[in-house]
Amino acid sequence: MPNIVKEVISRLTGGQRGKVFLCNLEAAIAGGLIDPTAVRAAIDRIDPNDISLMDEDDCMGYLKPLLQDPGAGLVRQNDSTAYLPYFLKGDRLMTVLRDPDYYSYYCDSRLCISGHDFAGRKPGSSIRAFRKSAISSPITWVAPKWLLSVKSSSSSAEEVRDILGLVHYGKNTALVALHFRPPSTQRCFRPTAIEAIPNARFRQSDPSNAAERRWGATVDLQLLDCSPPGATITGAPELTLPSVALAGCSDVEFVQLGETATDRDTASSDRKFLAHLLNGSKIETIVSRVEKYLV
């Protein structure tokens, strides 16, 4: 086992995000979604001096751009473009962002500070205007809006955050939902462990629907916290898109969701989720499998 691979894996097992990633990486390789040779090649490019002073989060943050580089070619067979109509069911896509990010990167700047009714931060308020140059993140996570409408009675920030598994949004985070119809040429992808870095609640395969290949499924954070071990914690279907230029989309709308009320990123929740992922195995077993894949 080359030292750099051993060192990287050793660092990753030091933290929750790393362990989650390793579990999902193992599942993705086993499922043929990720090419282990390409993963090994990406890790081999790391200068050991660069990571010698890094802790697990530094290591994961260092790895992320390397592994997500499209040129690295880690991910295969996850194009779900043909399934987008089934995902949408005639409705729009939905993604969620923080309120300050809406103002910095998406809003029609003049409109947002114009008028007597400029303080559009009341939950439920919406606006359709946006900056013509607005482009979403390089990896944009989306869910079908119709399902959120079914699952969420209040469409509050707390509920939406929980259903979509957005554990990185802690307490008192003001959130905005972006609803849109993508252009007809839009490509979309089933998420893998690579795009998911470093989400600590991503699950490569939903055991309640293990045969589903068209898209992934989020983990419902509220169900995770409140359900007994082994219970279903499935949230909503999810896909990823590359950067989306909003000017090319239709029916674009930003909706204020309010603020989250709780923090789901807790140590007890970490333990519960890891137990779900391991499903009776030990982390050492997962690590051993990953090492074998990468040799």
Binding site: G15, D50, D55, M60, Y62
Partner: protein, 347 residues
């Protein structure tokens, strides 16, 4: 996304200059090449979609010390200066890189309520960050106005709000009013920001923003019906200052400077209710949300107050004989049957 306590502790051990250099150096390299190498060995920055989010998360960490937070705030201020075309530290940055840095700067300045950066924000609001592309310059100027205003409106959330910060933010907001990118439609927003920051100066703020609001209502008559929202902001934040200085307002005629405000204050959706008295120049007002409180708002403009007089002739005078007609005119104007049913209140 939480950062480990060990990581935060490592930053708590750094000097202010080291933290500032880390932010500025890391963000410059990122803007130029997309590389995060100048943030290393603190690779956790790569966990975030945008590196500036990592800085914000560090700032928000419960164990981040006050000196570290102060250092981050100063680093953000330096980042803002870096976005200016003529900044020596930003030599080599093209317009595209500066734009990316600017958006990051605006984002974090708002997230951490960086009062130290408000002068830079005002500067960008006035010169559009000197972008050669006029539309880009206009866009960043408007973004800066928005960021500055929201920092002012939300300032109470910050432990770094001091009297110096108050002076700085107020001066920056006042400067924005004179920017070539400032539009009349932005005046309610600016007024709200000023009132939130220094409510005791509400009359000065009205003098600054009122004419723009009046001008804008001429352009967009529909907005006049929403002016009660701005009036509610004023009453919520500066009620006593407003009532104490009510005599300074000018609202006798339709074109008077503060007419829009008085109409909004006492209109059907407005936050205040007018209580007639025998002396038409000395009515009482009560907040609709606190009807147990009343304030006398003496003003001679009540005498000649009439919606029909729109000549703009401020020098026109009325005499006591018009008192009855004036009271009737006020009643008609506000179309408030509730006032008539209350009768005269003796005080």
């Amino acid at each position: 996304m939480k950062i480990t306590e060990n990581k935060v502790a490592a930053f708590n051990d750094l000097s202010s200059e080291q933290i500032g250099d880390w932010i500025v150096g890391g963000m410059s390299t990122w803007a130029l090449s997309g590389s995060l190498k100048d943030f290393l060995p603190h690779g956790f920055v790569g966990l975030f979609d945008r590196p500036i989010e990592a800085v914000e998360e560090l700032y928000s960490a419960p164990t981040c010390s006050l000196p570290t937070r102060r250092a981050i705030r100063l680093g953000v201020e330096r980042l803002g200066a870096l976005c200016k075309r003529r900044c020596p530290e930003g030599a080599g940055l093209g317009d595209s890189e500066r734009h990316a840095l600017l958006l990051a700067f605006l984002n974090i300045a708002e997230c951490i309520l960086c009062f130290e950066a408000t002068e830079t924000l005002a500067s960008i609001a006035c010169d559009g960050a000197e972008f050669a592309d006029a539309s880009k310059a206009e866009e960043v100027a408007e973004l800066a106005i928005g960021t500055l205003g929201r920092i002012a409106i939300n300032h109470e959330r910050s432990a770094f709000w001091t009297s110096e910060a108050k002076e700085l933010v107020e001066a920056s907001l006042q400067r924005v009013a004179h920017s070539s990118y400032f539009r009349a439609s932005m005046a309610p927003f600016l007024l709200a920001a000023l009132v939130f920051v220094r409510p005791e100066n509400v009359v000065d703020h009205l003098a600054l923003c009122g004419p723009e609001i009046t001008e804008w209502h001429t352009q967009e008559p529909d907005q006049k019906a929403l002016a009660y929202l701005t009036a509610s902001n004023v009453v919520a934040k500066a009620p006593l200052s407003l009532f104490r200085n009510f005599s300074s307002l000018s609202f006798r005629f339709a074109s008077s400077r503060d007419r829009w405000l008085v109409e909004a204050l006492f209109g059907p959706e407005g936050p205040l209710e007018l209580i007639r008295d025998r002396d038409a120049t000395k009515p009482l007002v009560t907040p609709k949300s606190k009807r147990t409180q009343t304030y006398r708002v003496q003003h001679d403009d009540w005498i000649g107050f009439s919606p029909e007089h729109s000549t703009g002739d401020e020098a026109a005078s009325t005499d006591e004989a018009n008192l009855g007609a004036a009271r009737h005119a006020i009643d008609d104007f506000f179309h408030d049957q509730a006032h008539k049913s209350q009768g005269v209140v003796l005080h």
